[in-house]
């Protein structure tokens, strides 16, 4: 509390409050322009002018957003950039209907009173504080006789009051700026529809990337694994075939036997590898329902996993598949990164939502950007408008909740 006046945020708040008259003034001039264009919109001259002032509002909004971000510490993301089709008429239409621009106009209007309040509070608190603090310097001068305390004691008292005001000023200004911050956050950022659209767009982009990456991984596995093994197998058999042409030599027969042996074990390994690959594409157990598939999955885990399911009805197959692969990925993470000794999987269906909870007693510290596949997971979950919540403090335990709609 005592150090507030020398903190950086206090000065930034003050600077923000002091830009208020300028920004609100420009905003007011702009509002006059908007009203004039609205009045003139009846004849055609006003329309281009109105379009221009909406676009200008965008610019003003950008400036205000920048100030609010840098000085008032408001976290707002940029709205989508202005887009229009080719041609003047298209541009005119897009500008007139530009939601971001109109929101900025509304911001310019509503912020007028809040700006006045913020500036007045800042000016009053800091100004009066400074004047009173300096009281011992000016109380004798005749410029302000009616304010002057009669004596030294009074002057010192007033100086102390000024000091108190200055200590309070940062908090006062901060409080007075609260409506400003709220307005900037709600009107200068992307609109609510835009936010959801953007989230879905991001989820879609990530899902597409994820799908491509998965296909590529399968192709790589088939190419470098299965196909290479089969070629080697064919090579061994080809060599064995040649040796068998000379089977009357005991040593060549023996070589043929060795080649067939190696081909035999190579074939078995290929089948095993292929089975893993197929299971990665679609586990057969999933056809019998999520419960069965998860029971198989958890039983195979290298770390003991307690499974608890409560599924009165089956979700759609797509959701079952996503839930299954989420569990696979999360349990793989537990085995690979957490160093946990126990894990548990809870799945339940309630009110149209499938909730999957995976817990472990490991070291924690799981985050979407640590290369643990959580990003891809979030993408798949986001694709069906689900959500994922990661609680994994350093030192553990980790608790990851995935929520999916039962139907899509």
């Amino acid at each position: 509390m005592i150090t507030a006046p020398v903190r950086a945020w206090a000065w930034r708040d003050l600077a923000y409050a002091l830009t208020m008259p300028v920004m609100a003034g420009i905003g007011l001039a702009h509002l006059v322009l908007v009203s004039l264009s609205l009045v003139m919109a009846a004849n055609l001259v006003g329309l281009p002018l109105l379009a221009l002032s909406v676009l200008a509002a965008r610019g003003l909004g950008t400036a205000n957003r920048g100030l609010a971000r840098v000085l008032a510490g408001v976290r707002i993301s940029d709205p989508a950039p202005f887009r229009s089709g080719p041609g003047l008429v298209n541009r005119l239409g897009s500008a007139l209907g530009d939601v971001t621009g109109w929101r900025a106009v509304v911001h310019g209007l509503i912020r007028l009173p809040t700006a006045v309040v913020a500036f007045t509070v800042a000016a009053a608190l800091w100004g009066c504080g400074l004047v009173l603090l300096g009281c011992p310097l000016w109380w004798r001068s005749s410029a302000l006789p009616y304010l002057s305390p009669g004596d030294w004691l009074g002057a010192v008292l007033m100086s102390a009051t000024g000091m108190a005001l200055l200590l309070l000023a940062p908090w006062g200004v901060h409080l007075a700026l609260a409506p400003e911050r709220m307005l900037a956050r709600t009107l200068l950022g992307p609109g609510p529809g835009e936010t959801r659209l953007r989230r879905l767009e991001q989820a879609r982009a990530m899902a597409v990337d994820d799908a491509v990456a998965r296909l590529r991984r399968v192709e790589r596995d088939l190419h470098d694994g299965t196909a290479a093994r089969l070629v080697t197998l064919a090579l061994s058999l080809g060599m064995a075939q040649e040796e068998l042409e000379h089977a009357h030599h005991a040593d060549r027969l023996e070589r043929a036997r060795a080649l067939v042996d190696s081909a035999h074990s190579s074939a078995k390994e290929t089948v095993a590898e292929l089975r893993d690959l197929i299971r990665g594409l679609h586990p057969a157990a999933l056809d019998k329902g999520l419960e069965v598939a998860l029971a198989t999955l958890t039983a195979r885990s290298p770390i003991p996993v307690r499974l608890d399911t409560d599924l009165p009805e089956r979700p759609t197959p797509a959701i079952e598949t996503i839930a299954y692969f989420c569990t696979t990925e999360l349990l793989a993470n537990v085995a690979k990164h957490s160093g946990a000794r126990h894990a548990s999987v809870d799945v339940r269906a309630r009110d149209g939502l499938l909730t999957l909870l995976v817990r472990d007693d490991g070291v924690g510290g799981a985050a979407p950007n640590t290369g643990s596949g959580l990003r891809g997971l979030a993408a798949r979950v986001g694709m069906v408008d689900g959500m994922i919540d990661i609680r994994s403090p350093m030192g553990g335990p980790t608790m990851i909740t995935v929520e999916l709609p039962m139907r899509i």
């Binding site: 196909a227 290479a228 089969l230 070629v231 080697t232 064919a234 090579l235 058999l237 060599m239 040649e242």
Partner: protein, 214 residues
């Protein structure tokens, strides 16, 4: 015959080494990526390099690029490109600067050991060997159907076998023709493709190239 092998699948690489060594060929180096291949060829100057197309680090056409470079920098080294799938564009790139001592085969051809070794010998001797699949793809491409239109079905068969690097005698045996009539077909192909007489087998290669680059 001195051979350099570039193949990133260790199992297959070892299998190839074992096969070639057991058949009296000398494998002077067996490597797993393009850079190592270039270095091994520069160091050993082999008769032939067997090159997998897809190798680390990019896992795309690493081997093909190395093969093309080897053909430019070491024209005496035969290059047998060895891949799990056939890309006509790869074949065209590989043959862009002449077709002497080049081969392009599917990996599974290694299972027919005699044919594989024969192909190896031919490439090392400066001939051209293309996988039947390359020819099928080219013949199947509809945009080439037009230029193929002048060839009779029989002539196409013969051309396909020429592309595989077979001699007239071998073609005659495979198609149950007399070697005289094969010769007639070959001459017809050259005439229709407007290839002037030249010394040696070079015209055969040109005939194949004409299709690849059509």
């Amino acid at each position: 015959m001195r051979i350099v092998i570039a193949e990133d699948a260790v199992l297959l690489r070892d299998g190839l080494c074992m096969l070639l060594t057991s058949r009296g060929r000398e494998v002077v180096a067996a490597v797993g990526d393009g850079d190592a291949l270039r270095a091994a060829v520069a160091e050993h100057g082999p008769d032939i390099a067997i090159v997998d197309v897809r190798m680390p680090p990019s896992h795309t056409d690493e081997g093909l690029r190395a093969a093309i470079q080897i053909r430019r920098d070491h024209p005496r080294v035969g290059v047998l490109v060895f891949s799990q799938y056939i890309e006509t564009r790869y074949a065209a790139q590989l043959l862009a600067n002449g077709a002497n001592g080049v081969g392009y085969l599917l990996k599974e051809r290694v299972a027919d050991i005699k044919d594989f070794l024969a192909a190896l010998d031919r490439v090392a001797a400066g001939e051209t060997v293309l996988d039947p699949e390359v020819v099928t793809q080219i013949m199947g491409a509809s945009r080439r159907a037009e230029s193929l239109g002048t060839l009779t079905p029989r002539e196409r068969d013969v051309l396909a076998m020429m592309a595989e690097g077979r001699s007239n005698n071998a073609i005659a045996k495979a198609l149950f023709l007399s070697s005289g009539s094969v010769e007639k077909h070959v001459t017809q192909i050259f005439t229709k493709l407007d290839l002037p007489p030249s010394e040696g087998d070079h015209r055969r290669v040109l005939a194949v190239l004409r299709y690849l680059q059509a």
